[in-house]
Symmetry: C5
Subunit: 163 residues, 5 copies
């Protein structure tokens, strides 16, 4: 961390949806507090109706000073939901390219879970790990560098590198 | 609401299509009046032929001062209609990223309805709920915040959070 | 119409392709003359090889002063043709968002027709109706407004509103 | 041709790939010389590894003064190749919209050919016809105008207009 | 090479992911050293969590002076992984069009490999060959030119030109 980073808190946006069925945003906040208790972090939260509303909301937060945004969504299992998730993800790419900053997309697809409990566990694991990734990208890139090619997974257990 | 918001009416664009088979735009107007009788709202309406004409029309309204636009469409059930809806949705993402403002996309797909009556109910439920969402996003974000992860649905009943 | 519109002719671009098998552009010109005999309209025509060449040609016409462009194409029935049509349509969205003006996309897909004669009828019906839509969007938006949600169709008969 | 066009040579970029299995770029050059022996044409050539590298290379050539670019590619027949071709084509649309100039995309898909010899014939026919199209778009638009709706094909024989 | 190129080192960004299961970035670095031992190359490395984080990271490196970026990813075999790879690739196109510079996308799809060992060989072959391509594009374009249409492959053996 350079001098400016020590004095200026890291500004992290967290955007979630009312469509989601788990409070992923709160989990991200909780994880950031637990894993980086001494790091000055300023969290800006926002909630939008659905995943297609995420990209421009993320862009607004990035434009108004956030260093990074964590975008949480829980797409349903119907074909139309898949389509929406795809469109939202492309919107996210557009927002990142426009702002020149990262958005950590944390989507937990309903059909990834075997049942509701499994789905909830997967969503929680994914959002907590990605909250850490967000901080690493902004302040501790060496943490990511040393895990390059290591088969890290969010949502399920890490699979590891191919020997 | 800050002082400017108290004196300046909320400017909401509502764009619909001649392709649609229900007057979703009128329902949105009706809902805004019912749910926010005391909020100064200025509604700007426009109608385009089909859903692929929506994105640039929304952009024009956003560029000329609208705070948000509600875009209503009723894509048909043929593969070509699905394709059109997808292209329109991506155009909507482009318009949002360009303008930095929200477009609430209210698409009711014909094959979501069991029959015409069911389709009409679904379209009505969806547009009315999203009209409220549009106002919440602009003026009452706390209403969305407290519903984060609560499984809200537009078109059908809310499914609720996973316990 | 305001004063400027009375004196300045409406500038309409019409772009078609050599790939198409019907002279849709000529039909559009014919329809504009029949339906709006007294409206000063300046038509600028251009022809490109295929549908993927349409978006930037439309953009060029919009950039050089056209108020709107009618883009005519007749995608084939092979999977690769469908893919091209999709890419062309997305290019059209990009061109509209960049220019802030409408492009009326008039695509008649080969597999929409039962046979060649039916295909030709469909293409003709679609381009003639959309030529009218183009003028309505620029000069007579009230004509579209009163048809909102009325189930208008181009290519086939109107299906009407759901009662 | 106006005065400037008579004195300034037409600058045509030709970009091809090392992935391709036929030297389509050389065929384009050959065709330009045969069909327009008296037209001053300056050809700028570039080769990239694969089709996804084409869009930005085309953009670079357009930005540095080319009037038009012919982009040659030979996508394979595997699903991943189809996906790449689609992504490359969308990149091409982006490059055209950004530059406001045409890119003539000449893709010959491996599964379009019945066998290698047929594939080679198809690729050659397509690139030669499109090389001519490129010149027509820049300098002889009337050649395209008179072929509007005539069912022109590149790669196979023209199919002609529907009577 | 011109004078400036002789004195200024070639700046190559290499971005990889923690999701990948092989250290492709290290292989790229190794290959650059082996194949171009005398060429002054400055390598800037970065690691992101997954492939959808690659485009904006590449853009940041290109914006801060890299001449080219090699983007390494290893998409999984599930449909959602395919979707992610597609979205990442489109983001890559956006980043290239925005920056006007090349990104060499080196994706090794898990289902391209017959087993883990084959997958690892494929990934290694692909990244090493593309590392060379990156240098050729920036400094030795004649190397690519002479291989135009020669059926070069990365990941598997070259297939050669069609005779």
């Amino acid at each position: 961390m350079n001098e400016m980073e020590k004095t200026n808190p890291l500004k992290i946006g967290i955007v979630d949806t009312t469509f989601a069925r788990i409070d992923m945003g709160a989990m991200a906040v909780d994880e950031l507090g637990k894993k980086f208790p001494k790091l000055p972090i300023k969290i800006i939260r926002a909630t939008v109706p659905g995943i297609k509303d995420l990209p421009v909301e993320c862009l607004k937060l990035l434009s108004s000073g956030c260093d990074i945004v964590i975008a949480c969504g829980m797409p349903g299992k119907m074909p139309v939901d898949k389509q929406c998730a795809h469109e939202a993800s492309l919107g996210m790419q557009m927002a990142m390219i426009k702002s020149g900053k990262h958005i950590v997309e944390v989507f937990a697809h309903e059909d990834e879970g075997k049942d509701e409990a499994d789905y909830a566990r997967l969503a929680q694991d994914r959002v907590r790990k990605h909250a850490v990734n967000a901080v690493w990208m902004c302040r501790f890139p060496e943490e990511l560098r040393k895990r390059a090619g290591k088969g890290m997974r969010q949502g399920r257990n890490h699979v590891g590198a191919i020997e």
